[in-house]
Amino acid sequence: MLSQLRTLWTVLQHTFTKADTVEYPDVMPYLPPRYRARIVLTRDPDGEERCVACNLCAAACPVDCIALQKTEDDEGRWYPEWFRINFSRCVVCGLCEEACPTHAIQLTPDFEYCEYNRQNMVYEKEDLLISGTGKYHDYNFYRIAGKAISGKDKGQARNEEQPINIKSLLP
């Protein structure tokens, strides 16, 4: 009996507290930068595509909604020939972002990407690629990797010695 009264009292008290619900869309809620919604592909600090088409995001995706094809430029830099996310399947779990070794794929707080036609939920690389670095401003995979690309030869990545002269007899 007493506990029931106490419950009623608690409920009554809530009549006077401030509401958590906001009047969306008139009032926009605050979403932190790490909020997980629409996925983008970012660029490295040099403005080049970050994605190296390693396929790890696709492998990590629990609903298998990422597919892509690797290709490379004349100087050996890997990038996706095409990159597709089927957002109608995506559960915004963020595992692709976790898996990505280059910080290319990132989830953004933009959740407003509903469509009347489900087919429009299929995003291609052109739709995904943004011009900035997203949440991670400095990371540039190719400056650390050993693979030579245009503008970065062997021995020019971070912590690399100049290539060995294999014809040298010095120890």
Partner: protein, 939 residues
């Protein structure tokens, strides 16, 4: 059996192996790099450390390298001992200090032995943050990528390339952590077995360039158990597909056939499947009347129903004849054969080949001979090769022979009580000692460097020498031996001695020279050896195409079945319509005769998967499935019937291709219910083929209610890969024909050998995981190897062979075939990287003949043939070993086909010829090898 205690558990292991071999064989995980089941141990990487204890009471033990320590009876070791574990963790950390941060952009990633071993050894965080040494890469040709930074200096590549495969242009250079694995300068890796480096190297230094061009990760590939289609060796392969493109071929382990290795034609020759030259829709010839009253023919797309109706009509017409193919499956040939009846089905091979293959097939069934598998070949200790340039006619066999000559090293090692897996020690001991190998052929070949003796002459002389050997083996010092030159006599008696003294002699011959006498002489040697030694003799008789033997078996009961018979039928008017199965007839018979014959026909129907000349005259072209989209059975040189399964389904949206047997089946109102039904019908139709019914489990085979999946359990992108076309996923295509499914559901862990498509085990993502599916490391697959040998030694079949007379022909020249691993196979030539590796068409001449015609190396010659219109303009290559009067023609290059060899060649200097400037191709550089022999042997 030896008793081995590992971490206080007792196991029985095979005698005479090392601890690493033993531990992997009983299924334990122990990391390693430099050891390889086919190449033994050298103890270079120090990764396989374990703790070994002296006896039960030893508490301290000592760290040893498992690969260098014999698994002696009663040995007690520990893998989990702290000290051993720390040792391994230290080694991997050191190996990784210079490793680049490359995995995401490394083709090896996801199937990398280095990744696996790093994980297994517990090294997950890099602590070394000093400078990394780096290396520049080399250009190694169109097939293989080089990324030297990733090297861990395990030495497997050079041990494979030089010691195992006999290559000369890859080496270790430099010292300490500078060691470099590459060529002395940029250039194409010469060995035709270089592609195996991709699988031998445990890291991403050597990767498949053709795969990289349309790369996907291993887990994203759909795979099936399959058989290489590019020669008759019958190597087992795993094709991998994604997005409807065949992306690569990797080795599929078969203990008896290819073991761990393929040749480069087989590995990189898959391009025809993805080619723009694929036929995808039925096409019918239509004659268009133009306004100006002229007519022209065009090909009009024709519906499946219409083409089936036309095919049905043709098959029912008693005036129809059908031509089968040695590159089509048994099932497709059988379907067509039963549709038109045996009497109207022709073999579809050149008449010259027809007789040799039939003799060979008859002989293989006699009781004096055993058809040697590759594994058996490696266990022989004296070899005679008669008239085969194996590297180019049966490449994988040539690789096996390089191991065969090491039998001598095995004997020496046994005498010195050194286990054979102590690779460095055994090679040091044996030095250049080899088991005897004799090569008798028309020209030099790539195996000559390991031969004890070679002899080059005309086919006729070769045959006479062969018969002389046979004669001496039968202990008759008859007339034939007397007619030999002193050099030949000596050769003859060395060979006779070697063959009679060997424990297990092996004779290799085949149909490649297209010369019956040469083959007969080899068969006579086998027969005589059988009489001499009173035992079954090991032989490997090479045929040219993937299913040459199968086709010959299918038609063995019918006598005259060659193409020339078919042409006679057409010329006489008895045949009005023709159905051609997967065959380009222009490669096989005189094109002028063929043209004339085809003109007489009312209708020509061609069923095939790629465009070729043979389709130009067709009235209806029906698109067939290639081996990657179809199922079937083929029979190798060895007589081994093997099943291949479709890797991926035909995409019905843009192709109507179907198995050839299915087209025929549908035209016959589904005479056979399904694939199993036609396999069984084919098996029942022919005693020889009876075993093919048992080659693989039938279509209703299930494991836990599920089919064996073609996709890995980690296959990605299922809900996105076709979302651009339709966001609603389509149902996975069904495979009603086989026990495999186009699906990720199910597991292939316990798949029987014939259904094993790929190897993966927890912690073992690379191809090295295959040891998890072998009874013992290097032994047969669990659940049975694939393939059954169809050559029974049924009844003793007494064939008699006539010795060719020493006739002299009036013609100045006679043509002999030269084969090229890159270039002589019709289908692999569609792959651009293979075409890039194949030489320019040429003609080979003896220097004196050339001088007489005023020709030197690199000049142009005009080649004509008696009774033929065709004219060829070819560059001249001088071959000093070639006997005078012989003209070597590279089959398959520049339109030079087998049938030309039936005519006498006429040669003259081509004065208008423009010499190709020397230093022709920057990529083909003269290496130590070719400089040593003669400048510019290869055009």
């Amino acid at each position: 059996m030896a008793k081995l205690t590992v971490d206080d558990q007792d196991y029985d292991v095979a005698d005479g192996n090392n601890l690493l071999h033993a531990c992997l064989s009983i299924g334990l995980d122990l990391p390693y790099f430099c050891w390889h089941p086919c190449m033994g141990s050298v103890g270079a990487c120090r990764q396989c450390a374990v703790k070994q204890y002296a006896d039960e009471n030893d508490e301290r033990g000592r760290v040893v390298m498992a690969c260098m320590t014999p698994a002696s009876d009663g040995a007690r070791i520990s893998i989990n001992d702290k000290q051993a574990k720390d040792f391994r963790a230290g080694v991997i950390e050191l190996l990784m200090t210079n490793h680049p941060h490359d995995c995401p952009v490394c083709e090896e990633g996801g199937e990398c032995h280095l990744q696996d071993m790093t994980e297994m050894s517990g090294h997950t965080t890099r602590t070394y943050d000093e400078q990394k040494r780096t290396h520049n890469n080399q250009y190694l040709g169109p097939l293989i990528n080089h990324e030297m930074n990733r090297c861990i200096s395990c030495y497997r590549c050079v041990r494979y390339y030089k010691d195992y495969a006999g290559g000369r242009d890859l080496d270790a250079m430099g010292a300490h952590h500078h060691v470099y694995f590459g060529r002395h300068t940029d250039g194409v890796l010469e060995s035709p077995f270089a592609g195996n480096l991709v699988e031998v190297c445990p890291t991403g230094v050597f990767t498949d360039k053709t795969f990289s061009a349309h790369y996907s990760r291993k887990w994203d590939l759909q795979t099936s158990p399959s058989v290489c289609q590019h020669c008759a060796a019958g190597c087992n392969i795993t094709p991998g597909e994604r997005y409807g493109t065949l992306k690569r071929i990797t080795n599929r382990y078969n203990a008896d056939v290819n073991g761990y290795f393929l040749c480069d034609r087989g590995r990189f020759g898959y391009g025809f499947v993805n080619s723009d030259d694929r036929v995808t829709q039925p096409l019918a010839r239509e004659t268009i009347n133009h306004a100006d009253n002229t007519n022209s023919d065009t090909a009009i797309q024709c519906s499946t129903e219409n083409s089936l109706t036309r095919l049905t009509q043709a098959l029912k017409d008693p005036a129809t004849i059908a031509i089968g193919s040695p590159r089509a499956s048994l099932e497709s040939n059988f379907a067509l054969q039963s549709a038109v009846g045996e009497s109207r089905f022709y073999r579809g091979i050149a008449p010259s080949e027809d007789t040799t293959i039939n003799t060979l097939l008859k002989f293989q069934q006699s009781s004096c001979v055993n058809s040697a598998s590759q594994r058996t070949i490696e266990s022989c200790d004296a070899v005679l090769i008669l008239g085969e340039d194996l590297t180019h006619t049966s490449p994988r066999t040539a690789l096996s022979l390089r191991q065969t000559v090491r039998q001598r090293a095995r004997e020496l090692a046994d005498e010195a009580r050194i286990p054979f897996w102590q690779d460095a020690a055994v090679r040091e001991l044996a030095q250049q000692e080899k088991s005897p190998l004799f090569i008798i052929n028309t020209h030099k070949g790539d195996l000559d460097d390991i031969a004890e003796n070679t002899y080059f002459n005309s086919p006729q002389k070769i045959a006479r020498l062969g018969f002389a050997i046979a004669e001496q083996l039968r202990d008759k010092s008859g007339a034939l031996s007397a007619s030999l030159t002193p050099e030949e006599k000596e050769m003859c008696s060395t060979i006779v001695n070697a063959l009679s003294q060997a424990k297990r002699p092996l004779i290799i011959a085949g149909a490649s020279l297209l010369n019956e006498d040469v083959l007969n002489s080899a068969l006579d040697v086998i027969k005589s050896l059988h009489i001499n030694r009173e035992e079954v003799i090991q032989a490997h008789l090479v045929v040219p195409e993937v299913n040459s033997i199968g086709l010959a078996m299918l038609t063995q009961s019918s006598a005259e079945r060659s193409l020339s018979e078919a042409l006679k039928q057409i010329e006489s008017g008895a045949a009005k319509r023709l159905v051609v199965l997967e065959n380009d007839l222009y490669q096989r018979v005189n094109p002028e005769k063929l043209d004339a014959a085809l003109e007489k026909l009312d209708e020509i129907i061609v069923i095939d998967h790629v465009w070729h000349n043979g389709m130009a005259k067709a009235d209806l072209i029906i698109p067939a499935a290639s081996f990657a989209e179809g199922d079937g059975t083929v029979v190798s040189s060895e007589g081994r019937a093997q099943r291949f399964f479709a890797t991926f389904p035909v995409n019905a949206d843009n192709s109507s291709a179907n198995d050839s047997w299915q087209w025929v089946n549908q035209a016959l109102d589904n005479r056979w219910k399904n694939f199993d039904a036609i396999v069984n019908a084919c098996a029942e139709s022919n005693d020889l083929l009876a075993p093919i019914a048992d080659l693989a489990p039938p279509a209703d085979y299930r494991q836990h209610g599920l089919k064996v999946p073609r996709m890995s359990h980690r296959y990605s992108g299922r809900t996105a890969l076709s979302a651009n076309i339709n966001v609603s996923e389509v149902k996975q295509p069904a495979d009603p024909q086989t026990a495999l499914g186009f699906t990720m559901e199910g597991s292939n862990v316990n798949a029987p050998g014939p259904l094993r498509n790929t190897a993966w085990a927890p912690g073992w993502n690379s191809n090295q995981s295959i040891h998890k599916f072998q009874d013992e490391v290097g032994g047969p697959l669990t659940g049975g190897s694939s393939g059954l040998c169809l050559f029974g030694s049924a009844e003793s079949n007494e064939l008699e062979f006539g010795v060719p007379s020493e006739q002299t022909s009036n013609a100045d020249f006679s043509a002999i075939p030269f084969y090229h691993i890159f270039g002589s196979d019709e289908l692999s030539n569609f792959a651009a990287p293979i075409a890039e590796r194949s030489p320019q068409a040429y003609l080979a001449l003896n220097p004196l003949d050339a001088a007489q015609l005023d020709l030197t190396q690199g000049d142009g010659a005009t080649l004509r043939f008696e009774n033929l219109q065709q004219v060829f303009s070819l560059t001249v290559v001088i071959r000093p070993e070639l006997i005078r009067g012989l003209v070597g023609l590279p089959i398959g290059l520049g339109g030079l086909t087998r049938h030309l060899l039936e005519h006498s060649p006429l040669l003259e200097k081509n004065l208008a010829w423009q010499r190709v400037p020397s230093g022709r191709d920057q990529n083909v550089i003269a290496t130590d090898q070719s400089i040593g022999l003669s400048e510019g042997l290869v055009p």
